[in-house]
């Protein structure tokens, strides 16, 4: 009887239950937001000793500069800080950082022992009161403090945005000085942000279009030192170089490494026609990939090495085409009004950067690999020669100003079209090539 009564009572309760089970969550959809730099704070890293004070301050400044240079972050000036960070081990007073709207906080410390320097740091999500990732430490010699700062910034950047790192990388470019009609060009290499410029060649002959190998230890470039353009391979560390074999009476230019670094794509001009060729670096054997009567040039591999995007005027005007890596039928992907050139495949594989000339203006743009969603990012008298950052988020290119006193300058721009900014170099700069991330 008791079981019967219990069942009956529960049944009654079940029937009555829907009356009380009415608190479903309120559901709303947010599909509009804002796009603005994220405010962050990076108090000066704490030196473990007086000898580390200068390094701590400089490393902090480089980290802050890297982050703000992306255009995705806005540094909160130290004047606004409520609580100073005097100890790396001390707990973070999140309320003080929330009060000044710091959404991310970077704390760090620097230790110097003899010729050794170490940097340890943490990244905090202020509004959740939690650490983003684990604390990390980099160590090296004191001369490498700048690279360590870039590595710290890379970690912070990646943890907050989810993008791959790119600060610890270098850029090869052609340093230009003198007036336009007597311009002296030297091959140079620098940190991605324009610091530590080193020259790899003298200015006795014209050099063009340096291109990093996938491992970043070699450079391809074109030199006119024999009177006609020829392709050289330069070892970045030893600065030793060798010329790639070529046929008599031909001109070779626009070289680019394959993703495995074993072959080189290049253009070869012979008898008034220019086609694409591929050379095995170890043997020097070349294979012809195109044989059209038009001009084919500026080849670039897809990241997986299966396809090549290049420029051709086979339709009457320079346009972009994609073909299999071993040659074959090419598919046109650019259909806008104007002339397209210098295509470069993104390291992510999803976009192609290019130069476009239209209505007397030059643009750097990106499009999907099927040619859709073309988007022009810049516009000026002369923009050309895009190169991708290692993470595929930023493009660097050459901008030249008009007139006899016009100057070539390197610029970078986010693929969204925001954060267009010059890259400071001692002299003018052109033909940038972004290295892969350093080891």
């Amino acid at each position: 009887m008791m079981k019967f009564l219990t069942s009956l009572f529960l049944g009654a309760a079940l029937l009555a239950a829907p009356v009380h089970a009415q608190n479903q969550p309120l559901r709303i959809i947010i599909d509009e937001g804002v796009i603005e730099p994220m405010p962050f704070a990076v108090p000066d890293f704490v030196p473990d000793s007086p000898a580390a004070a200068d390094y701590a301050r400089e490393i902090t400044r480089v980290v802050a500069s890297d982050l703000t240079g992306t255009g995705l972050f806005r540094e909160i000036p130290s004047d606004a800080f409520i609580s100073p960070v005097s100890s790396f081990e001390a707990s973070v007073q999140f309320a003080d950082w929330k009060a000044i709207n710091a959404q991310a906080l970077v704390t760090g410390a620097v230790n110097v022992s003899g010729n050794r320097l170490s940097v340890r740091f943490r990244v905090w999500d202020v509004f959740s009161g939690a650490e983003l990732g684990d604390g990390l430490q980099f160590a090296g010699t004191v001369d490498g403090w700048r690279r360590m700062a870039h590595k710290v910034a890379d970690q912070v950047y990646s943890r907050i945005t989810g993008e791959g790192p790119y600060f610890d990388s270098r850029v090869a470019f052609v340093s230009e000085s003198g007036p336009k009609d007597q311009r002296r060009k030297r091959l140079a290499i620098m940190d991605y942000d324009g610091a530590n410029v080193q020259y790899l060649t003298d200015s006795s002959s014209i050099v063009l279009a340096p291109r990093f190998s996938p491992t970043g230890d070699r450079l391809l470039y074109t030199s006119y030192e024999t009177g006609s353009p020829r392709i050289y391979v330069l070892d970045v560390n030893s600065v030793k170089r060798q010329v790639l074999p070529t046929q008599e009476g031909t001109m070779s230019f626009a070289p680019r490494f394959s993703p495995d670094g074993k072959t080189v794509l290049y253009s070869l001009a012979q008898g008034g026609n220019t086609d694409l060729w591929r050379m095995d670096i170890s043997t020097g054997n070349s294979v012809r990939l195109t044989s059209a009567p038009s001009i084919e040039t500026a080849p670039s591999y897809s990241p997986d090495g299966s396809q090549i995007v290049f420029e051709s005027d086979r339709s009457g005007t320079p346009q972009l085409y994609i073909m299999p890596a071993n040659g074959g039928e090419a598919t046109r992907i650019s259909f806008g009004k104007g002339r397209y050139g210098t295509p470069v495949w993104s390291p992510r594989g999803d976009l192609i950067a290019f130069t476009k000339q239209s209505k007397g203006r030059f643009h750097i743009g990106v499009m999907r690999i099927d040619g859709s969603e073309e988007r022009l990012l810049t516009a000026s008298f002369l923009d050309e020669g895009p190169t991708w950052s290692p993470n595929g988020r930023v493009i660097m290119f050459t901008r030249e100003t008009q007139g006899a006193s016009g100057r070539s300058t390197l610029y970078s721009v986010d693929i969204s079209g925001r954060n267009l900014r010059p890259v400071r170099t001692p002299d003018g700069g052109s033909d940038p090539s972004w290295s892969p991330l350093l080891n």
Partner: protein, 364 residues
């Protein structure tokens, strides 16, 4: 079973049966409308429908009021010696740094402060400048991209060059009014303006090719309805059993009130949108939709510890975490002072699920 128990059982069964069938849980009769009907005479009817003289028509068209515009919603490191002694070359000889694989610093106990700082809740970004009818708005470059463009604030007023002779207080001069700083909403544009788009004259021609077909947007109405239409059997059973067993006797049910109006929901949506900053998200995270659940306090502030991601789609787990981080910051920041929600409907918004879909932001 003794007679008393039998009588008691029969009485209880009768009582419960009466309660279930007899009317306690009987639903109320459906509401119906009642209209008054009055009887009129034939004369009154004829007079009512008698032909009337045509109204005078003016040759001059009257000015119509413009319909009101609907505003958009708005490890201890192993310090391996890695020296890079570069020979005498002109190449850069940078010492290598070595990334250590594990965290090297013990995590101090973070002093988590659950109090939400008093942040000013920004007003919805609404353009203050009138837009001439028919004129195509020209996008301006601005650091902030928001749903609604905001004109830059007017330049600061410069001091007058004309010197005003000082007036002594003895002459009965008025007490100078305290200066107040004029505030204006932060300048914003409603789309990313690239250099190539800043000038119409120099703007390049667009590719005539149609853009790739985008994935279909989720259909919020259907989803919501479908979710709401799901029988909450499990919850109902659990609640009923809990109540039957007396587990929740001390809990006072929150006043639910009527459902939130569209305007109330929009106000909440706009409030969160104003703090949802996707500017620092990766391109993959910008393709990831996350559903975030949050419990709310009665004062309209979110319970920070309750914020959790209940679903994600369109990206990797890493991208989902990035997207969730941005969503969580938005909920906390703009809810610091409490969202403007009706207190008498607390039961309706005690728990909220927000779907953050960045698709429209990705194509800004």
């Amino acid at each position: 079973m003794d007679t008393g128990t039998k009588i008691s059982a029969i009485a209880h069964v009768t009582l419960i049966g009466w309660a279930l069938i007899g009317g306690t849980f009987r639903s109320e009769p459906l509401p119906f409308e009642v209209q008054d009907v009055s009887v009129i005479s034939a004369e009154e009817y004829a007079a009512l429908f008698a032909p009337k003289p045509a109204p005078e028509v003016s040759d001059t068209p009257a000015t119509l009021d413009e319909p009101p515009k609907q505003e958009d919603e708005a490890a201890v490191p192993e310090q391996t010696e890695v020296e890079q002694p570069r020979p005498e070359t002109i190449a850069p000889s940078e010492p290598e740094t070595e990334e250590l694989p594990e965290a090297v610093v013990e995590t101090p106990d973070p002093d988590v402060v659950e109090e939400v700082p008093a942040l000013d809740q920004p007003e919805p970004d609404i353009a203050a400048l009138p837009v001439p009818p028919g004129a195509k708005p020209k996008p301006r470059p601005a650091e902030k991209v928001a749903p609604q463009p905001v004109a830059p604030p007017p330049p600061e007023v410069k001091p007058d060059d004309v010197e005003t002779p000082p007036v002594s207080t003895e002459q009965g001069a008025e007490t100078p009014r305290e200066e107040q700083e004029q505030t204006a909403p932060e300048e914003a544009t409603d789309q990313i303006v690239t250099e190539a788009e800043q000038s119409n004259e120099l703007a390049p021609d667009r590719s005539p090719r149609p853009p790739a077909q985008r994935p279909r947007r989720p259909e919020p109405a259907q989803t919501a309805e479908a979710e709401e239409a799901k029988p909450a059997t499990d919850d109902a059973v659990r609640d009923a059993l809990a109540e039957a067993l007396g587990e929740a006797q001390n809990e006072q049910p929150a006043p639910s009130g009527p459902p939130l109006t569209g305007g109330e929901k929009d106000a909440l949506r706009i409030a969160v949108s104003n703090c949802w900053n996707v500017g620092s998200l990766s391109t993959e995270a910008l393709k990831t939709t996350v559903v975030v659940a949050v419990a709310m306090n009665r004062d309209g502030t979110p319970v920070i510890d309750s914020i959790r991601m209940v679903d994600s789609s369109g990206g990797s787990s890493g991208a989902a975490q990035q997207a969730f981080g941005a969503a969580r910051r938005a909920i906390i920041r703009c809810g610091a002072k409490g969202y403007n929600l009706p207190a008498d409907k607390y039961g309706q918004w005690q728990n909220i699920e927000m779907t953050f879909n960045p698709e429209r932001m990705r194509i800004k």
